[in-house]
Symmetry: C2
Subunit: 325 residues, 2 copies
């Protein structure tokens, strides 16, 4: 995806005549919203004047921030491209004068009707993660920052984008045996807690709501590693499983603290450590933003193994697409 | 609390010489972070140039945004005032040149050592909610917006602040019987999902992590009403209880949609409706920001009733303050 060209064209033709790009709105639902978390975290961390918002689509539709307007870039992602709230969000954004960039896997998506620039993305086992929505959205936001106010880690980020697919391919092989063991050990569990921090907190949430609740009908909750010690840790005991994704980068200390506590007071602890999985080859200035890209792919192995052992296919739904809502 | 005078003094003496107030950082842990959610939601909704960030304290300490500096107001809240991460956050903020406003219930708090302006707040059954941290922090942010770029709903907000304590007193009486019935019905449950949207989503999270996980050692998870339909709803069945807080104001439609679905496909549904509890007297332009203030007080009745029936006092901890972590 040539995200640099897309952003430079929009800045030149659409934003500069309005005084420049001021806000980025990241709007989607469920798994697609999860894919936006790293970009929002990145902009909040690195931007000085560009303002980032991340909202679930229907809240954006009913309670759009006042600032949404001609200096706003609204990025909307929907895999099927016909999620009504996401389509309505893109329509609302355009009606307020915002530029919309949409991402979908469906070339006939309704979403494209409200798009100033649409990205048809790759999906599936054989696609490179840099062509999947999480990396594309992050890349769009890196370009938006670089081209509006500059980003010191820009060239390091481009380096990371050339490295991440190889890191992931190796990591997926590395977790084959342990994800199978995980599935065997936890096949009978009904509730999982998922912990992480920094750019990866969104994927902790995503693994809970998409991989476990939606795809396995299992109870689940995400907890930020920093928040764990301020309430949630009181439920830690020998009976409930915890999955902890340990980041490489600035927030690693938060995850390591959670690991120490869990290993002392819990019994069912699954650790997925980005450092041990080789993410450290990515330049230090940007490595933290690549954690969730790695974790997404690696955790796909865990959920596939669990689905197989539980004989509950990942595609089975009882409500989504089955009943009216 | 004279939040107007505090903000005007800081703007005049500290921010104007630096070019004005540009960012607000809302930093705390657990229940105190929950108290900041409405203020963050408010600034994201209403501000055009002021940028708001909300972060758990340890993530702020390890991964503070680049923009933190002399044009930043950092608000740090800690009930006991000695939470190490929160104290470190205030210290870091000052070291970066940010002005700090701290809130605590402890006049000897370490937090005060790193405070440019400290607010000792009231707490307990006999305190007015407008003197509790959630309302104080919201009020500080309303003042920050009004005094930096203006806020059209300002006088309506002040009206709401004069009304909310009476609304709450009436609502607490109104839920006495139903919170007792709730406790009787759900005394044996081990897992609750908590739904809400808009300014109240933070309190859905707070009820899950503080009231249930921390104070009752019960499993719990918060789900945004808009996100419910994009994954989480697949676990809806006759066995798991859902508590839905329905907002008055812009995001009400999201909560009502969740109610319809839950009533059709779930069995154990507890509805707490701000409209039915009388919040509609607050001016429409600002009513949504008062929902979580109401819900906090009302849900205290529910958790107290549950604690009594379960014979698990709200103060009992196995880890917090009991072991090293």
């Amino acid at each position: 995806m040539n995200t640099a060209a897309i952003i430079s064209s929009l800045i030149e033709q659409r934003f500069l005549p309005q005084g420049g790009l001021r806000q980025v709105f990241l709007v989607a639902c469920g798994g697609s919203l999860v894919d936006m978390y790293p970009a929002n975290y990145f902009l909040n961390s690195e931007a000085t004047t560009l303002h980032s918002y991340m909202m679930t689509a229907n809240e954006f539709v009913y309670a759009a921030p006042k600032t949404l307007g001609k200096q706003s870039l609204t990025i909307v992602c929907s895999h099927g491209g016909d999620t009504p709230e996401s389509v309505a969000a893109a329509k609302l954004a355009q009606s307020r004068g915002s530029v919309t960039v949409t991402l979908t896997h469906n070339e006939h998506a309704s979403l494209i009707n409200f798009s100033d620039s649409n990205l048809l993305y790759a999906w599936g086992e054989d696609s490179q993660v840099i062509n999947n929505p999480m990396a594309i959205i992050l890349s769009l936001c890196v370009e938006a920052l670089q081209q509006s106010e500059g980003f010191a880690g820009y060239s390091d980020f481009l380096t990371g984008m050339t490295q991440i697919d190889e890191v992931i391919a190796k990591a997926r092989r590395q977790v084959q045996a342990r994800s199978a063991a995980f599935a065997d050990r936890y096949a009978q569990e009904s509730l999982f807690y998922i912990l992480s921090s920094g750019a990866s907190y969104g994927h902790a949430y995503g693994f809970a709501i998409c991989s476990l609740m939606e795809m396995q009908w299992l109870n689940a909750a995400s907890i930020h590693s920093g928040e764990y010690f301020h309430g949630p840790f009181e439920v830690t005991d020998a009976t409930t499983p915890w999955i902890l994704m340990i980041n490489e980068g600035r927030t690693r200390a938060l995850d390591e603290r959670a690991r120490s506590f869990l290993q002392q007071y819990g019994e069912k602890i699954e650790i997925v450590d980005a450092r041990e999985l080789g993410l450290g080859v990515v330049p230090a200035s940007v490595v933290e933003y690549f954690n969730p890209v790695l974790f997404y792919s690696v955790m796909c192995e865990y959920r596939a193994a669990l689905a197989q052992v539980r004989q509950h296919p990942l595609e089975t739904r009882r409500y989504m697409g089955q009943v009216a809502y």
